[in-house]
């Protein structure tokens, strides 16, 4: 997904309010460059289908789906108390179901059809024009639609970690549906769909910004808006079944190769190298977290090493196609440290109740990864240079990308949540929270 398009970042300051104000106005005339860039990419792509690439992307797509169902659902589900585990699974499953439909109907079009630099158009609603022979690069466009869909559904599912155990199921669905259209689709357009954000200079191989920082910030905002879980501090909130969390983390690790190596959109050396850097950073981050926790708490925990692995996966996501082994190992180590601090020091410092550490891991890890991509990018791997090869400016560009995304997603997520709160309420009643969401909201329990 290295579709880094030339565009003036100058328009940025005006862009966010403009977008909010004009809703889905397609400020088409404002950004002809983006549209041209999309065409250029289309032209550059070889016009024939490659069956090896297609085979790999078919698999990569289902791997990313597996990351959410059952991967992430189990990762999160094992961490809550027993009375809420089914609610987590339900939320993830419903997000995938409902948002998949929305993606097909309008999301893909808003993200990837020609539009303004800020958002795509409506010309591909209901996938108009995506037929049997349409190609994106060397793979069928229908496959590209599906591959992108899996990213579009896992991002909202990640947010669940922020508001777990206390949000109404109905409000959650409403929030997610609008969030997909108002936050995810535009940011996806900025970065991969011909939008204004990612000029040639900003690097994000597989979605550190679009997916992880985006979800991490939205999770943090929802944790703050909803408030702390009742019982925090007094009740035993320890994860009820880390076996589930371990299965989830493992499937995330395995599936992430589809996410990262799949983002090469081909079965070639780039994909293979992305797999190698992804795996190295992950292993290093897991090991680092384990050692730090061992040193600080006296015992290395399973939850710790699993969290470390996910931290590494997050951080290497933007970098995996640009850095070499050494860069990957350093990114892994730094992200293990940083996210350990994110879930302990940082969270305690501000006192928000990011229930499953959506921001502590995905937000912090995403930021670390995006910045370090600017440090460790080497020409031999991804054709781009970073700080260590003398291109100090890259770090600043990366920081800019991070900042814009954080601001936009924070503001829009906050407004959305507040509107829904007024309209139908965000939080379940205290009785429901005590009784458990499984039984109260879904009429089921784990026996």
């Amino acid at each position: 997904m290295k579709m880094n398009l030339s565009h003036r970042l100058g328009g940025l300051a005006a862009a966010v309010p403009a977008l909010l104000a004009s809703g889905w106005a397609h400020a088409q005339e404002a950004a002809p460059a983006a549209a041209e860039a999309v065409e250029a990419v289309a032209e550059a792509a070889a016009p024939t289908l490659d069956r090896g690439d297609t085979a790999w992307l078919l698999v990569a797509t289902l791997l990313v789906l597996m990351m959410t169902l059952p991967g992430l659902a189990l990762f999160y589900g094992g961490m809550v108390r027993k009375k809420n585990v089914l609610s987590i699974l339900m939320q993830c499953f419903a997000i995938v179901s409902v948002l998949s439909v929305i993606w097909m109907v309008a999301g893909y079009s808003l993200a990837f059809s020609e539009g303004s630099p800020f958002v795509g158009g409506l010309s591909k609603m209901f996938l108009a024009g995506v037929n049997l022979d349409s190609l994106t690069g060397t793979i069928p466009e229908s496959l590209f639609v599906m591959f992108q869909l899996t990213f579009a559904v896992i991002t909202p599912a990640l947010i669940v970690g922020g508001f777990a155990d206390r949000m109404k199921f109905s409000s959650m669905l409403v929030f997610m549906s609008f969030w997909l259209l108002l936050v995810y689709a535009p940011i996806c357009h900025w970065v991969w769909g011909g939008g204004f954000l990612m000029t040639e200079g900003v690097l994000d191989f597989a979605g550190g910004t679009v997916v992880h920082i985006n979800a991490g910030v939205a999770g943090l905002v929802s944790a703050i808006v909803l408030g702390r879980r009742s019982g925090t501090g007094s009740e035993n909130m320890a994860p009820h079944n880390l076996v589930l969390t371990m299965i989830g983390a493992s499937l995330l690790w395995v599936g992430w190769f589809g996410f990262n190596a799949g983002s090469a959109l081909a079965a070639n050396g780039n994909a293979a190298m992305a797999m190698l850097t992804t795996h190295s950073a992950t292993a290093m981050a897991a090991m680092t977290w384990m050692l730090v926790e061992w040193a600080m708490r006296g015992k290395p925990s399973l939850l710790g090493i699993l969290s470390g692995a996910v931290a590494g996966l997050v951080a290497i996501t933007p970098a995996c196609g640009f850095v070499d082994l050494k860069g990957a190992l350093i990114i892994g180590a730094v992200s293990g440290l940083a996210c350990y601090w994110g879930v302990s020091g940082l969270k305690r410092m501000f006192g928000y109740d990011d229930a499953l550490d959506c921001f502590g891991v995905h937000g912090v890890g995403g930021i670390v990864g995006a910045i370090l991509t600017g440090v460790f990018a080497v020409e031999a791997i991804g054709g781009k240079t970073g700080l260590i090869e003398g291109n100090a400016a890259q770090v600043g560009l990366q920081a800019l990308g991070v900042g814009v995304t954080m601001v936009y997603t924070a503001i829009v997520s906050y407004i959305l949540l507040k509107i829904i709160d007024v309209a139908i309420g965000l939080r379940v009643s205290p009785e429901v929270e005590v009784e458990g969401l499984d039984y109260a909201l879904h009429g089921e329990t784990v026996h």
């Binding site: 035993n236 909130m237 320890a238 600080m296 708490r297 015992k299 939850l303 710790g304 350990y340 302990s344």
Partner: protein, 112 residues
């Protein structure tokens, strides 16, 4: 007859059972319970944070015995369940009005 109810540390269960056999105890009933007591401060580690666990896993043994061996039963349990560390648990003795063996309908002493 008495009903002796002992709350012990889980890993002592087998030892206690073995200590009761020589007294002619042929049956007992066991449940998993959680104990709250002086023994405190255990923590679980949870993402770099620590977690105070108020309730500790214990095992409850209930055994119906004849009055003549109650004292020996108590001694046997106390000796075998003892580790000398806090949290070893308690033995409670209740009066038993009657007992019945469901299979045969035998009553009281014969039912044990």
């Amino acid at each position: 007859m008495k009903l002796v109810m002992a709350i012990i540390k889980p890993f002592k269960l087998d030892e206690v059972r073995e200590a009761l056999t020589p007294l002619g105890i042929q049956g007992l009933t066991v449940s998993e319970v959680k104990g709250f007591g002086r023994q405190k401060g255990q923590t679980e580690i949870y993402r770099g944070a620590e977690y105070m666990v108020n309730f500790l896993p214990k095992v409850k043994i209930e055994v119906a015995v004849n009055d003549d061996i109650v004292d020996r039963v108590i001694e046997a349990i106390q000796a075998s369940a003892n580790t000398g560390k806090i949290g070893d648990g308690k033995i409670f003795v209740l009066d038993l009005v009657s007992a019945v063996r469901i299979r045969t309908g035998e009553k009281d002493t014969d039912a044990l």
